[in-house]
Subunit: 337 residues, 2 copies
Amino acid sequence: MKIAVDAMGGDNAPQTIIAGVERARDAFSDLEFLLYGDEQQIQAEIKDATRLTVVPTSEEILDTEEPVRAVRRKKDASMVVAARAVKEGQADAIFSAGSTGALLASGLFIIGRIKGIQRPGLMPTMPDFKTGGQFNILDIGANADSKPENLYQYAVLGNYYAKNMRQIEKPRIALLNNGTEPEKGDLVHKAAYQLLAGDPELNFIGNIEARELLNGVADVIVTDGFTGNAALKSIEGTAMAILSLLKRTIMNSGLKGKIGGALLKSDLGVMRDQFDYSRYGGAVLLGLKAPVVKTHGTASPEAVYYTIKQIRDMLAQHVVEDVVTYFSEHQLAKRPE
Amino acid sequence: MKIAVDAMGGDNAPQTIIAGVERARDAFSDLEFLLYGDEQQIQAEIKDATRLTVVPTSEEILDTEEPVRAVRRKKDASMVVAARAVKEGQADAIFSAGSTGALLASGLFIIGRIKGIQRPGLMPTMPDFKTGGQFNILDIGANADSKPENLYQYAVLGNYYAKNMRQIEKPRIALLNNGTEPEKGDLVHKAAYQLLAGDPELNFIGNIEARELLNGVADVIVTDGFTGNAALKSIEGTAMAILSLLKRTIMNSGLKGKIGGALLKSDLGVMRDQFDYSRYGGAVLLGLKAPVVKTHGTASPEAVYYTIKQIRDMLAQHVVEDVVTYFSEHQLAKRPE
C-alpha cells in the first residue's frame, strides 16, 4: 500500500509528520510512503529512508487561505500534488495535517466522489465517556447546507465504516436531533428520519439529543455539517474550559488543595488522555474514491502514526471498494422503472 | 408586580416551587403571587400566605405530552390558566418549571407575540468559564426552522435584554457560525450575517465558533434554534460527562488519589457551582407580550428564587415595553414608501 503524505501540513511540519510516518513505516512492512513537500526540510528530518520517497514540491497551502481558491491556484502545493498522485493511481490514499478546507477541496475536486454519492462527509472517531467505547459522527463540517438525502448517505457511509473498520455487525445508527421523538426536528431532520427509518438494511435506533453524544448510545451518529460542527466544537470547547478551570481551581486552592492536586496528578493525566481522540485516528472524508484522512494541525508524531494506521486499516478492509459496490448496486435498484 | 406561578410544573412541584416563591416574596416586598394548581397540595406547602393567592386548577401538563395539543386540550391546566391570567392582565408575567414545549405553546398561543416579532426566541443566561462573566444565547430551541430575519430579530431582543437587565451599554453581539470569516456558514447564516452587520444600532462583532462559547468573547450570541439546541446540550452533556468521569477517576484511584480527592473536595464543589447556571435565572421566551420564564424541572428552591428575581428585574427594567416600542418604531421606519 502506498500512502501520499502532505509533509508540509500542520503546525510542526515536516518534523512531526516525518517522525510519525517513520514510526508507521517501522510498524507495518506493507506500507510505502510518498512524501510531498520541501525536499531539503524533509530530508533533514528523515532518519531512515526505507520505503520513503521524497517528491519535491514548491508551494504550501496556509490555514488562512480561502481553501477552494488556494487548491485551484497553487498547483505545486504539497497537498495538491499528493492528491493528484492518488487520482493518477500512484498512491492509494492521502494523509494531511494541513488546512481542513483545502483537504476537502483537494479530495472533492482532484480525487473525486464515489459515483452515486452527492456529498462526502467529514467523520472523526470519538471516545464515549461512559462505556469506554467509541463512536463515529458525520458530517462534522464538510457541507454547510445539507439535504435529507445527504444525511441518509452519511448513514450508509458511516455504517460501512463501522462494519469494516470496527467490526460491528449491526452498527447502531442514530440521528442527532432536537428531541428523541420521531416527529422532532426541522424540515431536513424530519425528512432524514423517514429515510433512515425506511431502510431495513440500517440498524436505525432513532433520534438522539446532543446531551447524549458522549454516552455511548450509538455507534454512528448522523448529523448535518452545520449542526455537527457546532456540536463537536461545543464538546471540545467545554472540555478545554473545564480542564483549565480544574487546573486553576487546583492552583488557587491553597496548600490543602495543592497537595490534593499533586496526589491526583497521575489520575487526572489518565483522565485527560481519555479526551485525546487523536489516538483513534484522524477525521476521514468519507465518500471519495480513496481514503482522504486529516489529523489535527497540532498532532504529535503518535497521532500521525495512529492516523496512518487507520488509513492502512481502511485500505486493508476495503472500505472504499465496499461503498463503491453498494452505491453502484443501490443506484441500479433505485433507477425509475 | 403580580407573577402568575405554575405551581404544578417541575419534578418536585409544588414543594420546591412554593419554597422558592416564599423566599422571593420575603425578599421583595413589591411582589405578589398567583399560585395555580392543586389547592390542597399547594396549601400544604405554604408556610406564610402573605401576598400569595392560590387559584385552584384541576389539570397538569406532563413532560411526555405533545405540547401544542396538551395546551389546547387541557384548558384547566395550571400552566394554561396562569398564561390566561397574564393575557387578561390579572398578572404581569408567568413562571414555570414545567414542560418547555408547553410553556412555549402557552406563551405563543395564549399570551401572544409582540407586534413585529416573527418568532420569539428561548434564551438562557450562561456563565462563561474564562472571565467569570455571563452571556445570553438565543434561540436555543423555540424554533426548529429559522430564517435570517428571525436571527436578526433575536439579536435585537438579546440586545435589549443585555442593555436593560445587565446594564451593558453596547452589548457585543456575535453570530454562532461554522467559522469566523464573514463569508462562512450555510445560506441562512450567511444572510443573517449581512443583516446583523448592516444594522449600525447593533454592536455586531462577527461570527464565533462553538469552541469559543464559554470564553466570554460576546455578551449576546445569536443562533438558530436547531443549532443552539445542539450546542447547549453538547455543553451540558460534556460538563456532566467530565464531572462524572472526574468522580469515577477519584473513586478508582487508590488511597493516594482518594486522599487527593478529599483534600480538593471543597474546591471541586466551588468549581461545580460555576457550571450551575440556574443561579443566573431561567430561560426567557423573549418576544412575547409579557415575561415568560422557565426554569429546570429539577430546579431547587434557590433556582426558583433566582428566576423570580429575574422576572422582577425584567418588569422593573421594562424589557418588554422597550422591545414593543422598538418594533413599533422599526416597523414604521421599514414600511415600504
